[in-house]
């Protein structure tokens, strides 16, 4: 591992030691964050999968009815029946915080003309399969919104997990080893300087003693 390009001084050493402590603490925190995110993510993704299966089955059932309705009704009649809905569906979005990831939660608000009435047409000119199709879609709608919420949350968590994992790995495999190596390098260098100074002093002492007392 590469040693950082720094001057081997005591000041650098202190700074680096402080940085190493911070990096270690950050690494631990991020690792905990990653683990918790992962736990939540796996829970949600299982729910996501189950919901999706349910919703896809529901839509498939609705489509079957729809196909039959289309085959017995003309395009115009179908359009007339469906284009003026008796209700309007809006959602209010609030944000929830999962481990500092902001995820949306949806709450539907249905504005209906008549209470509990989902059919936007009279029964005279439409096929009963259309009723079934609309009913089936209406039944599956709460699940579809829950699916939207869960799937979005999963996507957001996934990208956050990816980011956190990269940070953890960068700290663990690059930053921390680099700091450790550099600290080792500076310590060695400083020790070496000290030894050099000692030997020099001993040598000078010898030379001076030789000069004054003519020691051999």
């Amino acid at each position: 591992m590469a040693v950082m390009n720094v001057n081997p001084t005591r000041m650098e050493l202190t700074n680096l030691k402080r940085k190493l402590v911070t990096a270690r603490r950050g690494h631990k925190l991020l690792k905990d964050k990653r683990d918790e995110l992962m736990r939540r993510f796996l829970e949600l993704v299982r729910e996501n999968k189950a919901l999706r299966q349910k919703v896809e089955a529901g839509i498939k059932a609705a489509n079957v009815h729809m196909a039959v309705a289309r085959s017995v009704m003309s395009d115009e009649a179908l359009e007339v029946a469906l284009m003026m809905p008796s209700q309007r569906m809006d959602v209010s979005v609030t944000e929830k915080n999962i481990m500092s990831v902001n995820v949306p939660t949806f709450r539907t608000e249905v504005k209906a003309a008549k209470n509990g009435e989902i059919y936007s047409y009279g029964y005279a000119f439409t096929s009963c399969d259309l009723d079934d199709a609309v009913q089936a879609l209406s039944d599956i709608m709460p699940d579809m919104l829950r699916l939207a919420e869960v799937e979005k949350t999963c996507q957001l968590l996934a990208s956050e997990i990816e980011k956190t994992r990269r940070r953890v790995n960068a700290l663990e495999h690059v930053m921390i080893p680099q700091y450790e190596e550099t600290i080792k390098y500076i310590t060695m260098k400083l020790d070496e300087n000290e030894r050099r100074a000692t030997t020099r002093l001993m040598k000078i002492k010898d030379m001076m003693l030789k000069e004054t007392h003519h020691y051999q």
Binding site: L82, Q87, P104, A133, A148
Partner: protein
């Protein structure tokens, strides 16, 4: 207040109009992409998109994955289930874990 929309071929999304969703018929990827871009700028919370169109759009959908809203959710259309929706879950798992562990 946010809106919910459905994009897809007419047959697949007509039913949603009756329960109060906004429907935007689109037959080709270009129209769908245009609609999506407009919706991401306006107040749409959920956009249901048929899998057929999604498979034509490809990578263009990726940028909506990291935005909190709109949630672009794939639904099967009249022509059947292509499995694209399930693959999008697998993609999330792969992104988070590194491999699809829920196969």
């Amino acid at each position: 207040m946010y809106k919910i929309a459905a994009i897809g071929d007419k047959d697949s999304i007509y039913g949603f109009a009756s329960i109060g969703l906004e429907i935007h018929p689109a037959d080709d990827a270009k129209t769908a992409q245009h609609l999506l871009r407009k919706m991401s700028e306006e107040r749409y919370a959920v956009v249901f998109l048929t899998e057929q169109l999604a498979s034509q759009l490809g990578d263009a959908l990726d940028k909506y994955r990291t935005q909190p809203v709109p949630a672009v959710i794939l639904i099967p259309g009249v022509s059947g289930n292509t499995g694209e929706g399930m693959r999008s879950i697998s993609r999330s798992v792969e992104q988070a874990v590194g491999s699809d562990i829920l196969k």
